[in-house]
Symmetry: C2
Subunit: 368 residues, 2 copies
């Protein structure tokens, strides 16, 4: 992994502002004057040091209610780099990622994480910039019994943890999809969702690999809360976020693979804006590290290098967000939230009540 | 006007970070490493000092094209406080605001501003927190020949300037509306738009004054560019922003009247997010100062005080935004933009091309 050239911005701000200034900065840019940090276990801090990944935890409270008990959910996000160079045998590459991510999931479990979301195409390098297909077919797998699911299902069961696994899917007709699989706390596949909006920007021409998803906007009613997944580029589409809200989501995960030129300056506001607009929690997850590919065929020979900027973060429905995980290093972000906050915020702001969806349905129908 | 308790955040950041750190901060939070400031005229700087209002100017360039010449537009935003206490005769209050805003428009004209947008209900205190109606009727006016239009139309003609005037409208049936009137460069009313989404949050119960707008999402094809207006609370509705884009807007103004408790921490990201999502320029305008009202009737007697936080700003379709105007003082923000940037960004990101609106029209129709 390439070392980062920039010091993380959150650290710069914290170092250079005095405490009053920092409160003001946090209030405007993060939604509250002080972050509520979770106290982590000593074993977590040691694992973080030994295995070289960052761990942060934050809590989000809600007001007490007479009619409902608090509904506390602890969820986690994992961002990571690949382990081996991309020219190594694909199975070796994947196994090395399994080993690394498995250790992070172990730590998440020890912290009581109930739902965890991995990054887009987590068990492979993001080879979709190569425009090659057949060379990478070993990374395209069954959503019910492919290697990624076989690896994760026992962990889900062992830890009673819901695991969200974004993979590349090969369906029964050998058609590719960009898919997330939701594994329940018993290690069973609850269902899947296929990426609704595909980028064709610069070298990320995903439309040459698969079609836009045909699974609509499912919300998974897990044991621990109602969740949905907006995959990567879908974060640019307000209606994608909206439909998950209308279908009842309380947390929407946005697993991504995105590089600096692709809007790093609005990475920090799109998922945050969506949390506010839709009165749910959002979680953006982006990979880290540099991935180098050599493309060699009868038309061209080139080396492609892509550096991902990490910066995963969580936002509450009231707009309060965590700092970002590092731009460079592997990381686990834990959020302890009270899901009651979703309805409380929705009731307070009334954005849903005032949304006039019937008017927009008509107007959208009339668009030529 | 109450003096501000917090130093402006942009100034704090600029003072405390070194130049490399500031570039990194600007790149992430404002979309580019350095702001492109416009050089202002000496007479502007003197007027700013003498009349005690802030003036800032920024430019946004686009790439050169073979098929189109640059389409340069200079637009302005005005944020201001009221002048007289709210118990004074209403006509006196309004005339005092006219005098102040007239001077700012004069300066804007001298800088070559072609389109200017005033704040929500610009010619009155924002009395909608009182829940009184009849007491304030003098501030509710005809959109074709009310006092605000009579004051602005000659200025529009004199300066060949399009002026966007957000007022409270009294229609021919004595029904109230929250309306913006667009006056063209000849001083004629081009049309109007009525606020689509109304807040009923805390004491801002606008639904007791008027109904949600019935004018859809008009885009005004002015001499200088295609513009639309998303009034205040409508900024929380992604579909409101979207429809203006689908109808062809190149600049969407968001005149508002909003206080700290109403989401100051996402004021800076909602209009910015909308600019990115919809490939157009956006401009958020919020009033400043503290307004105090005494409500006295047979049910209650109380004093209401509301402090508005200003912080008006402009964002380009590529996510690059200006710093905010002050939280406290009157201000004029000037943006010199090349409207060609809208299509360039739309072509680059493809958010419109990949939006699958037919799918969403069906899904929204099916919402119960």
């Amino acid at each position: 992994m390439e070392s980062c050239t920039n010091e993380d911005l959150d650290a710069i701000i914290e170092t250079n502002l005095n405490s009053e200034q920092l409160k003001q900065f946090n209030r405007i840019f993060y939604g509250q004057e002080d972050h509520c940090e979770l106290k982590l276990r000593l074993s977590t801090l040691m694992a973080s040091k030994n295995e070289n990944f960052q761990v942060c935890g934050y809590s989000f409270a809600a007001s007490k209610e007479e009619a409902r008990s608090p509904r506390i959910l602890k969820f986690g996000l994992v961002q990571h780099s690949i382990v081996l160079p991309t020219h190594k045998p694909l199975k070796e590459q994947r196994d090395a990622i399994f080993q690394k991510v498995g250790k992070i999931i172990d730590v998440a479990a020890s912290e009581g994480v109930q739902i965890i979301c991995l990054q887009e195409v987590w068990s492979a390098p993001f080879f979709l910039c190569t425009r090659e297909k057949n060379e990478w077919i070993e990374f395209v797998e069954s959503p019910t019994d492919g290697p990624s699911i076989q690896f994760l299902a026992p962990l889900a069961k062992k830890y009673s943890m819901v695991i969200i696994s974004p993979i590349l899917e090969l369906d029964e007709n050998n058609v590719w999809w960009n898919t997330v699989v939701v594994i329940n706390e018993n290690g069973k596949v609850m269902g899947k969702h296929r990426k609704n909006h595909l980028p064709s920007v610069g070298s990320f021409s995903e439309t040459s690999y698969y079609s836009p998803g045909n699974t609509g906007h499912p919300v998974f009613d897990t044991k621990y809360g109602k969740i949905a997944i907006n995959i990567c580029y879908g974060r640019h589409q307000a209606l994608n976020w909206l439909m998950f809200a209308l279908n009842g989501a309380e947390v929407v995960f946005n697993p991504a693979a995105t590089i600096s030129e692709f809007g790093e300056s609005f990475w920090g506001i799109e998922a945050r804006n969506a949390a506010v607009a839709n009165s749910y929690f959002t979680a953006g997850i982006n990979r880290v590290g540099t991935e180098v590919f050599t493309v060699k065929n009868k038309y061209e020979e080139k080396q492609i290098s892509r550096t991902y900027y990490g910066s995963s973060y969580v936002t509450a429905p009231n707009g309060v967000r965590t700092p970002s995980l590092s731009k460079c290093s592997d990381g686990l972000l834990i959020a302890e939230v009270d899901l009651n906050l979703c309805r409380q915020v929705k009731d307070h702001w009334g954005f849903n009540m005032t949304s006039r969806l019937d008017m927009y349905a008509k107007e959208l129908n009339a668009v030529k």
